[in-house]
């Protein structure tokens, strides 16, 4: 049963990652759709982290006690001014864990 679960999950995940890479799939992306898809990275990444940062106990938390929010603002500033991914990740995590 575990193996069946693992293999069928793997199949689902692979299909979702591969489907549109298959040239035989009869789909032509028109110009508008391609331009919309160019925004996939910022849109999806933002949608993934938003609930982690802003929500605690199903409520929006805007307080300075929300170390996720403080850490996020710090990470934004670091990323903007340094453009260094590794530095941004390590320094903002250091701040975050010192606040926790």
């Amino acid at each position: 049963m575990i193996w069946l679960t693992i293999v069928s999950m793997a199949a689902l995940v692979f299909i979702s990652r591969y489907l549109f890479l298959e040239p035989r799939l009869p789909l032509r992306l028109n110009d508008n759709l391609q331009k919309v898809l160019a925004y996939a990275a910022p849109a999806v990444l933002t949608a993934i982290i938003t609930p982690i940062v802003w929500i605690s106990d199903h409520q929006i938390s805007l307080s300075i006690d929300n170390s996720y929010l403080v850490g996020t603002i710090f990470a934004c500033l670091l990323a903007y001014f340094t453009r260094n991914t590794l530095l941004t990740v390590l320094a903002s995590m250091a701040l975050f864990f010192s606040l926790m």
Partner: protein, 242 residues
Amino acid sequence: MTALTTPTSTISNTNKSEFWQGCLAILPLSIAVIPWGILAGSLAIDAGLSPLESQAMSAIVFAGAAQLVALGMIKTGAGLLSILMTTLLITSRHFLYSMALRTSVSELSRAWRVLLGFLLTDELFAIMSHGKTQCHHLSRWYALGGGVSFYLCWNLSSLVGIVAGQTVDNIEQLGLDFAIVATFIALIVPMIKRKSVLVCIGISLASALLCELFKLSVGLLISALLGMIAGHVFTKISGEYQ
């Protein structure tokens, strides 16, 4: 080096160098995923999987969020169908990634397509989007370097979790999820080169908040789509060059 061998060796050197550039570009994300890999390994043992099954899950499924959620469901005795429905929901964002990469990847050979498709995580998509804006074309070797090194890191950290085998109490309170936030922020911010990207992020953020407050399980997909459409609509209205 003779003149005859120079062209081929130059090509292979370029490939090698692009491969390493990919490894380097994804390195911060590989580091940030280590605690998650450890967690996936130890949670698998905790859910009753054998060490082999636990490692196989990380090696074959290779999808952090889907694995962690599925392991929680296995532990509580959920049925296969509900596990798969949940997996589909979590993994659906990858449809967007593969569609966004269709133009550049679908023309590669089948081996390349399957390989890059298998390795297509959030992290790989992020560095591929980033790399594309920097050098205006997508290097498959760069993508492969990022994908393979991230895969190794995920599986090695899972192995550590399997060997350690202990369950961590109060996982939610450890703040591991901030590692995801920090890496994604570091990726998103440099993408903001035009106002329309900012609009896209703003709409995606607002929608994700609303969906979370209303506990919509498809919130991620809805919010991502709204953000993408908003970004494009903004360029049309404002006449922003794209």
